[in-house]
Amino acid sequence: MKRSQLAPAAACLIFGACLSGCAPVAPWERGNLAKPQMALDVNPMLSTLRSHNYSSREAASGGSSAAGGGCGCY
């Protein structure tokens, strides 16, 4: 019991500290944020194609997410 209460409390302290700089945004104020152009990855399919091209020509491949994949090293 104690443990399960302590863990979120610790997490709260850590993230509370870094969130205190952010203004609260009520759900009804999130209209702009929900627009498609505001998605973190606006175009996932195109991102896949691009990152495959980049990773076949650059050393710093992968790392932006943990997914795994083939080589296709031309």
Binding site: Q5, M45, A60
Partner: protein, 931 residues
């Protein structure tokens, strides 16, 4: 309860934000209880409003999430520019890549999502395999064909005392310092990679867990991976945490063929001694085929935090770690190494002579990689645009630090149009073991002498059998005991020891990807969203790689600069939006429902094209059609099996005989069906397609000896390698016209033109300085001719029964395409019957008769005719098939209106022209959605 009391006291004193974050946090652990608590403790109107608003679907959406259910198709074309070869004319075309991607995401249950993804790349063309001083002449005229081919083996090269490369003026026999480097280019026949992966997700109100995996297959590289991811929203969904873990296991199985071997330390004994120096990576198979084996594992973890900053901005930041172990080198990349014997006497101009050899690159077998990334998204109010800014830092223990900056401006223009310009900058340091080429101050090989200084001789054909020989005073060949032996039987050669591997660096690579450089790229994407959730997109990006663009300077010389461009086109369908649109449609139509109507508008089995029409003006249909065909087994002549001697003697008219026959061939075709009904009697249809094929060959028993160098070179190449081609096929444009429509009976005709968008100029790579020539007619991606494609279709139905018949044809409108040939015309007739097993499932049986003409004309360029597949007479025939199909239709619900069909076509009889492989069967699968 104690916890709640504690919270209330906190609320009065400490920051509200922190409290609400904690409440959300505990809510994730016990979601049900948290809802009750939230309702009970909704003391302020703000809380109540917040809870209500969070329940609204549109506002529930966290920014990073896309549509719930969608399908997408994407085509991409990568084209690299020519490399700088300093006046040398290469005969190779730069590398190009054709990519096709299909992806889908569906809701399996209320909280369960399934996403899948298929990617296929086919590439062919030239890339650098090594780097060397220009004076080494790595690209040189060699063999009977015009233009330079790679030359990296047993190359005499010259250096001054400071080990600067010297250019030799052969006429004057003088030397001048020339530090200029150049890539050595080599080309490969087309190769294909296919990847399939999936992700299964379960979503809670404020969290998600997903598990995924996939496989990527190439002839020489196989990769399997699995991943686990978690998302956790809290702080009223202002904050999201992401954690991802993945594992990848990869196997390299690279055939080091006779054409690559000359630049990777050739000869079987060379490979054997190479193996002795490095871990035994190269397996020598009977017949001299050499396969390099390697295994690799990657573990990766990524942790990310997404935070909404205000109503117009959010950011994501993350950190990742990847540990890779095993074989991470590229089996086709060599490091040109000049061995300079320090004991030599310099030449008249003080020059040192060295021997240059291409060695397989050696990379460390472990790599630890760390990344840090930051993404920032800002909404620009006045323009309704979004500015995306991404930065990523990469560090690894190979000595590479890299920075990536990217900015995208997503600008909606109204009417569903969006334009997105983009710019990206990338810079990396060179790996610590990167070297454009190596100089080793030792002889490449040394004579071995015995204790008394006599050179030791061994048997040329069996140097490692332990027997040694010597020359006596009279130069007679004697064994260890001084007895004379037969010179001819022993065939003596000097025993040599190769260079000392320990005097080379532990690791070395001249792969341009490990050099120091910067890259700048820019592009634009334009998309148009149509009503009902369908959007089309097209984009282009130009990329330039330059040593001088490296951050902080010190990049690789300009000889390594190159550029590429990528164009892409995509179709996306938001299935959830379609379903909503479809539901609206039904209410307006006021009868039994649009979906029920379309279900009975005479869909044929999956293998029948142009089988139905959209019955109301304004309707659209999007569909995807996949076809697979396979040929395998004993060769046929007419309808009978043909023996190898028969094929050798008769399969290749006007030649000395056939050398090869195909042993298997598979064809995959992916088609998009886009259909629109401007009126109820006319439908317009656009059908782009993407094809890929592979073919394997075998040597015929009793085949004659090859007589030309081209045959000698090409035959083993054909047998050793599966051939692959792939890319855009021909594109069809059709008009479907209703001729007769009565209850239960419908007749329409389709008139179409197929445009020759598929490549018909695909060639084998050159081997041994000989031109590979055109690849077999069947392996080309299209017909190359404009074709007329008419058909007429009758469909009928009564109660649970449905039936139909179709006659169709392909008439080539030109006698030859730009490569000099035309495929034969095709005529096909088919009839089918179907029965509704369930109200959503129909089973069908079909008979098909097809006549195909033989190829007309012949390739108009170099073309090595090695077997029946290279002769126009061995194309076409008469074929009978029986098809068994299932059609499923989702009448209602979230996926209502979707149709999925499968059909297997089983060949009953083949009567082929000339000598051909029998067909084993064909699968058709279609998905379509009308709205």
């Amino acid at each position: 309860m104690a916890a709640i009391k504690k919270k209330k006291t906190l609320e009065s004193s400490a920051g509200r934000l922190l409290v609400s974050a904690c409440r959300r946090l505990t809510g994730v652990i016990k979601p049900r209880i948290s809802k009750q608590q939230a309702a009970a403790s909704a003391s302020s109107p703000l809380h109540a409003l917040t809870a209500a608003a969070l329940a609204l679907p549109g506002l529930m959406m966290t920014p990073a999430q896309a549509a719930d259910e969608e399908a997408g198709f994407q085509y991409g074309h990568y084209q690299e520019g020519k490399r700088q070869l300093f006046g040398i004319k290469s005969r190779f075309k730069p590398i190009e890549v054709e990519s096709l991607q299909g992806s889908g995401k569906i809701k399996l249950a209320d909280r369960v999502r399934f996403a899948f993804n298929y990617i296929q790349d086919t590439w062919g063309g030239a890339t650098p395999i090594a780097t060397a001083p220009l004076s080494f002449q790595g690209n040189r005229e060699n063999g009977v064909i015009a233009g330079a081919t790679p030359f990296l083996q047993n190359n005499n090269v010259y250096f001054d005392a400071q080990l600067n490369p010297l250019q030799r003026n052969n006429a004057a026999n003088t030397f001048s310092k020339d530090p200029q480097l150049v890539h050595t280019l080599s080309s490969a026949s087309p190769e294909t990679r296919k990847q399939g992966d999936f992700k299964l997700s379960y979503e809670w109100d404020e969290a998600a867990l997903d598990v995924g995996g996939g496989i990527s297959l190439e002839n020489d590289y196989e990769s399997r991976f699995g991943n686990l991811g978690g998302r956790w929203d809290f702080n009223q969904k202002l904050t999201t945490l992401n954690l991802g873990l993945s594992y990848t296991a990869s196997d390299t199985q690279a055939i080091i063929d006779h054409d690559a071997a000359p630049y990777i330390y050739d000869t079987t004994s060379g490979t054997a001694s190479y193996n002795a120096m490095y871990d035994s990576q190269i397996e020598i198979l009977p017949g001299g085929k050499r396969v390099l084996h390697g295994k690799r594992q990657d573990w990766a973890a990524h942790f990310g935090l997404t935070q909404i900053l205000n109503r117009n901005a959010l950011f994501e930041t993350g950190a990742g770690y990847t540990r890779s172990t095993g074989y991470m080198a590229n089996p086709y990349k060599a490091v040109e190494t000049a061995f300079i014997d320090p004991a030599q006497t310099p030449g008249p101009s003080g020059e040192l002579t060295g021997l240059a050899i291409g060695l397989l690159e050696q990379r460390p077998d472990a790599r630890n990689q760390w990344t840090g990334d930051l993404r920032y998204v800002q909404h620009i109010d006045g323009l309704d645009a979004a500015l995306h800014f991404d930065y990523r830092f990469f560090h690894d223990d190979w000595g590479i630090n890299a920075h990536t900056f990217a900015a995208d401006w997503v600008q909606p223009l109204g009417n569903g149009w969006t334009v997105t310009p983009r710019v990206r900058y990338y810079s990396q340091d060179a790996a610590s073991f990167y070297q454009p080429y190596l100089v080793s101050q030792q002889a490449f090989s040394k004579l071995v002498v015995d204790a008394s200084g006599r050179p030791i001789l061994v048997e040329a054909d069996n140097p490692n059998n332990g027997k040694t020989y010597f020359r006596d005073q009279n130069f007679n060949l004697v064994d260890e005991n001084g007895n004379r032996v037969d010179e001819v039987a022993v065939n003596p050669i000097n025993k040599t020891v190769p260079f000392d591997r320990k005097l080379l660096p532990a690791h070395y690579s001249s792969d341009q990807r490990l050099s120091g450089y910067g890259a700048l790229s820019g592009g634009v994407t334009i998309s148009k969203q149509f009503t009902k959730g369908v959007s089309l997109e097209a984009g282009a990006e130009y990329y330039t790689h330059e040593g001088s663009l490296k951050l902080g300077g010190g990049g690789e010389g300009s000889y390594a600069d190159f550029n590429y461009y990528v164009v892409n086109a995509a179709l996306k369908v938001d299935l959830a939006a379609l379903a909503l649109a479809g539901a609206g449609h039904d209410e307006h139509s006021g009868h039994g429902g649009h979906n029920d109507h379309s279900r009975h508008s005479g869909h044929g089995p999956a293998g029948v094209m142009f089988d139905h029409m959209l019955s109301r003006s304004g309707d659209f249909m999007v569909g995807y059609r996949y076809m697979y065909g396979n040929q395998h087994g004993a060769m046929l002549h007419g309808s009978d099996a043909a023996g190898d001697m028969d094929i050798v003697n008769n399969g290749c008219p006007n030649s000395n005989g056939c050398f090869l026959a195909s042993s298997g061939m598979a064809m995959h075709m992916h088609m998009l069906d886009l259909m629109y009904a401007p009126t109820d009697w006319l439908n317009l249809m656009l059908m782009p397609q993407f094809v890929d094929m592979d073919m394997s060959m075998r040597k015929l028993d009793g085949a004659p000896q090859p007589t030309t160098p081209a045959e000698e070179a090409a035959i083993p190449h054909h047998v050793l390698h599966e051939h692959n081609t792939g890319g855009i096929g021909d594109t069809g444009v059709y008009a479907l016209i209703k001729l007769f429509d009565a209850p239960g009976h419908h007749v329409h005709t389709a008139l179409g033109i197929s445009a020759p968008t598929g490549d018909v100029g695909i060639k084998f790579r050159d081997t041994h300085g000989l031109e590979g020539g055109f690849m077999h007619y069947d392996m080309q991606l299209g017909s190359g001719t404009w074709d007329f494609k008419p058909s007429i279709t009758y469909t009928g139905q009564k109660n649970r029964w449905s039936w139909g018949a179709q006659i169709s044809g392909v008439k080539r409108l030109e006698n030859r395409n730009k490569s000099g040939f035309a495929f034969g015309d095709i005529f096909q007739s088919t009839a089918w019957g179907g029965y509704d097993l369930l109200n959503w499932l129909t089973a069908s049986v079909r008979g098909v008769y097809t006549v195909k003409g033989s190829v007309k004309g012949e390739f108009n360029g170099t073309f090595n005719k090695l077997g029946p597949m290279d002769y126009s007479t061995s194309y076409g025939g008469r074929y009978w098939d029986v098809g068994f199909g299932l059609n499923a239709f989702v009448p209602r619900g979230d996926l209502g209106g979707n149709r999925l069909s499968f059909e297997w076509l089983q060949p009953v009889n083949d009567d082929v022209n000339g000598y051909q492989l029998p067909r084993e069967g064909a699968l058709s699968a279609t998905w379509s959605y009308a709205f």
